[in-house]
């Protein structure tokens, strides 16, 4: 056989799972990100006493497709003096960084592109932080003063909160003892509990920092519509803007995946080792079947016939998925499929919950001003994260050298970090009170017209 062809076949045979995973990520994630946008719009509408997109497709389900088509056929506008190469490249970098970082994430025990890379978690964090270039180069390439300022501000915010996020992740890493993604989840299984119960403060710090990482409300001043400087995305229209937008939502998925892997047990079910909780294994199938049943129930109440058929279709899909999830449990020869399928289900459920939290916060909270945002990051989150790392180190020493129970040691960590948090917040309140009691100095005599003359 031709040696090149042989080499290629050997390559495909060893690496086909990874290749398929990679293709799935690149092909599916943008589509999924588009549908996350739809979910956000529907959720926002629900929380705001309205319906959201309803026209395009039954219940607005084809809305992302319509949006994608619209953005693709839009006129491609490039500002006059913009640097064409960088202008083209910036959104691509943003999206590519997000997608590449997904390569190291294990979406289930069987689905990972960069199989067991030694520095798995660092890879995800490091490569996803390359998205910063997408922002800063995009702002610069627009050749507009306000875009550059918005881009620099956004970058400063990202860099500040990256530090806090990384420090918060160290707690989970110390508990797991390794950087490999799979090994972290295996450590949680081995210990029998998700790390969020051992290190809740670290999880909380990571949640806040990751909201700022992805430029989501309440930290979305650099890209808010009602602010003066409309941010780095101003000059981007059509599909370039869509790439930025999809990159942002892909980043949300990445950040959710990291939190799930490290704190929420990855693909483990709740109480992974407790034998009498094994009935939880039935939950995925039951949950999906329950969703299907609800669709059947609502199908009868739809006003329009196409919506009724559509609900029946969704119910059918739910039942099929429930069947796929249930059959390996019941049919013995297929038991090897259980960890993969159920693992993927739990993982996706947890990421969805995390992203739901992001959206919920977006609709509820007002926006931080930029200086307040930076103050929160540098004065409160980073010191808290540093103290947390020290405290977790202390807990590890107590556990390893002095034989303390891990729960007790981590409880000590939580207490120390909470005390520091209260202290920092009290300090912050005092500083704010002092700043407000000292009124802003009077600038000029009040009768002067700054534009006279």
């Amino acid at each position: 056989m031709n040696p090149t062809l042989h080499a290629v076949l050997v390559f495909l045979e060893t690496w086909w799972v990874e290749l398929v995973s990679g293709v799935v990520i690149v092909a599916v994630v943008p589509l999924v990100a588009g549908y996350i946008v739809l979910v956000e719009r529907k959720l926002m509408a629900d929380m705001q006493a309205r319906l959201g997109p309803m026209r395009v497709g039954p219940h607005g389900l084809l809305q992302p497709i319509a949006d994608a088509v619209k953005l693709l056929i839009k006129e491609d506008i490039i500002p006059d003096n913009a640097d064409k190469m960088v202008f083209w490249m910036a959104p691509v970098v943003s999206m590519t960084a997000a997608l590449t970082s997904m390569g190291a994430i294990a979406f289930g025990p069987a689905f990972q592109v960069a199989r067991d890379i030694n520095v798995g978690l660092l890879f995800v964090i490091g490569v996803s932080s390359l998205g910063i270039f997408g922002i800063v180069l995009g702002g610069w390439a627009s050749n507009s003063h306000y875009s550059i300022m918005g881009a620099l501000r956004s970058t400063a915010q990202l860099v500040s909160y990256e530090t806090a996020a990384g420090l918060a992740l160290i707690s989970g890493l110390l508990l797991a003892g390794t950087l490999k993604i799979r090994a972290i989840v295996d450590a949680q299984q081995h210990f029998g509990v998700w790390f969020v119960f051992l290190a809740p403060v670290a999880f909380f710090i990571y949640v806040v920092a990751s909201i700022a990482e992805t430029n989501r409300a309440p930290f979305d001043l650099p890209e808010a519509e009602s602010e003066l400087v409309a941010g780095y995305m101003t000059e981007y229209s059509g599909f370039r803007w869509a790439l930025y937008f999809l990159g942002e939502y892909a980043n949300m998925i990445v950040v959710g995946a990291v939190a799930t892997t490290l704190f929420l047990g990855g693909w483990l079910r709740p109480f992974p080792n407790v034998r009498w909780m094994n009935w939880l294994d039935a939950l995925p199938a039951l949950f999906t079947a329950a969703v299907g049943a609800y669709c059947v129930y609502r199908a009868g109440k739809q006003p329009v016939r196409v919506q009724t058929w559509f609900m029946w279709g969704v119910a059918l899909a739910c039942f099929v998925v429930a069947l796929i999830l249930a059959v390996p449990l019941l049919v013995a020869p297929l038991k090897f499929l259980v960890p993969g399928l159920h693992g993927a289900f739990w993982f996706l459920l947890k990421i969805s919950a995390y992203i739901y939290l992001f959206m919920w916060l977006r609709f509820t909270l007002p926006r931080y001003r930029f200086d307040q945002l930076m103050h929160l990051g540098w004065y409160i989150l980073i010191p808290l994260a540093i103290v947390n790392v020290l405290a977790v180190g202390v807990a590890m020493i107590l556990e390893m050298e002095y034989g303390w129970n891990r729960w007790l040691a981590m409880l000590l960590t939580t207490v120390i970090t909470l005390a520091t948090a209260l202290f920092l917040l009290r300090l912050n309140d005092k500083r704010a009170a002092a700043a407000s009691s000292a009124a802003p100095p009077p600038e000029e005599p009040s009768t002067e017209d700054s534009y006279a003359g």
């Binding site: 705001q48 931080y368 307040q372 802003p440 006279a452």
Partner: protein, 375 residues
């Protein structure tokens, strides 16, 4: 003059730049152009360029009869049309020396207080939206929808209502008027609590509004600011208590007053005003006197020559009408004292020293409507 020029020379230093918040901007609540003089991030001075919505309303008044001019008045502060109508009708009634019958006065009071709630709801929703809270807007509009339904049932229009006539009312209160208002008011307390839950204790909201746009009481009085802007700075001046008109002297209500004169206080004052308006409505519908709704006013209005100034407490501030009559059917001059226009003068004082991101909050807290500013 020389000194001013020299001082301006040093003002335009190396780091200053003039930023234009153009007439088209999501947060200027209409076509308002604000030129910001910035030093880095800090605002050193502002200049408002208005007139984009000027329609020559006061000039038009000189060529219309008194009844013909009434619908024009609604279009000034289009968010609170009923108040505008109330002020105008009462001003002309003063000129004619007639009084509206008691039933008309009470129904006018109810409608005006409902309109105050509706105006404050729009303010709350848009102000929260500017600061980044996306949800209160929809809740506020949901409540306002109920009020607009009442208006529609009463006079056929939701926004530019032309609800009142010179001398009283044209339309009798429809059959379920009291029931509708009562149902709305009973429901509204719970809704206000929703807004309070979302915003009042929220540390991000407090951080964005406390000590932002502080206006001292002396400055308020010097600039002629009125309405919630004045009351939030500590001056207890409300025309409904100080110079009662319509049926306000019959009801028990409080005037909320703030302490600091910052954006948070203005927010609290307007929230409390909504509650007090609700109380006025509840008291009023208990006892609407029977009787005629239109006073003794002829079909052709020829007020005697003279002038009159009448002002009311509109949701945005003190709305005044100065009407000069020359004895004919058309007024000689109608001059409107628009509260938004005069409150907008305070923008410069309030915005100095703040960051650019605060300017949006400050414009929102002044609660201006460009229809009124430009007329």
């Amino acid at each position: 003059m020389q000194d001013d020029a020299a001082q301006n020379q040093t003002l335009l230093g190396a780091d200053e730049l003039v930023l234009n918040m153009g007439p088209q901007h999501p947060s200027t609540h209409g076509v308002l152009r604000v030129k910001l003089k910035l030093d880095g991030e800090r605002v050193r001075g502002t200049e408002c360029v208005i007139g984009y919505l000027h329609r020559g309303v006061e000039k038009i008044a000189e060529n219309r009869s008194y009844q013909q001019f009434a619908p024009y008045v609604d279009r000034m502060d289009y968010v609170a049309a009923v108040s505008n109508g109330l002020g105008y009708c009462e001003a002309v009634e003063k000129l004619l020396n007639v009084e509206a019958p008691p039933r008309a006065k009470v129904i006018r009071t109810i409608m005006t207080e409902l309109q105050r709630i509706a105006s404050h709801l729009v303010w709350l929703g848009t102000h929260a939206l500017d600061i980044g809270a996306l949800t209160p807007l929809f809740y506020c509009l949901r409540e306002r929808e109920e009020i607009l339904k009442i208006f529609e049932k009463y006079c056929g229009a939701r926004l530019t209502t032309h609800a009142f006539r010179i001398g009283g009312l044209q339309y009798e209160a429809y059959d379920s008027f009291e029931k509708d208002v009562e149902r709305f008011c009973k429901d509204f307390e719970r809704r206000i609590q929703e807004y309070v839950d979302l915003l009042t204790g929220n540390s991000i909201w407090i951080g964005r509004t406390r000590n932002v746009g502080v206006l001292s009481a002396e400055d308020c009085i010097a600039l002629g600011a009125s309405g919630p802007v004045l009351r939030a700075s500590g001056v207890k001046w409300d025309l409904r208590k100080a110079q009662p008109y319509a049926a306000y002297d019959q009801y028990n209500f409080q005037i909320p007053v703030g302490t600091n004169g910052d954006t948070y206080d203005r927010y609290m004052v307007r929230m409390e005003e909504m509650r007090q308006s609700r109380l006025i409505c509840l008291q009023a519908i208990e006892n609407i006197p029977a009787g005629p709704i239109l006073g003794k006013v002829g079909k052709v209005l020829k007020p005697p020559a003279g002038e009159i100034y009448h002002s009311i407490e509109a949701p945005k501030g003190i709305l005044g009408y100065y009407i000069v009559s020359d004895g004919t059917t058309q007024p000689y001059r109608v001059r409107i004292r628009p509260p938004s226009f005069i409150n907008l003068q305070a923008l410069d004082k309030m915005a100095r020293g703040h960051l650019v991101a605060d300017v949006v909050a400050i414009i929102g807290t002044l609660d201006i409507v460009l229809g009124e500013v430009d007329r």
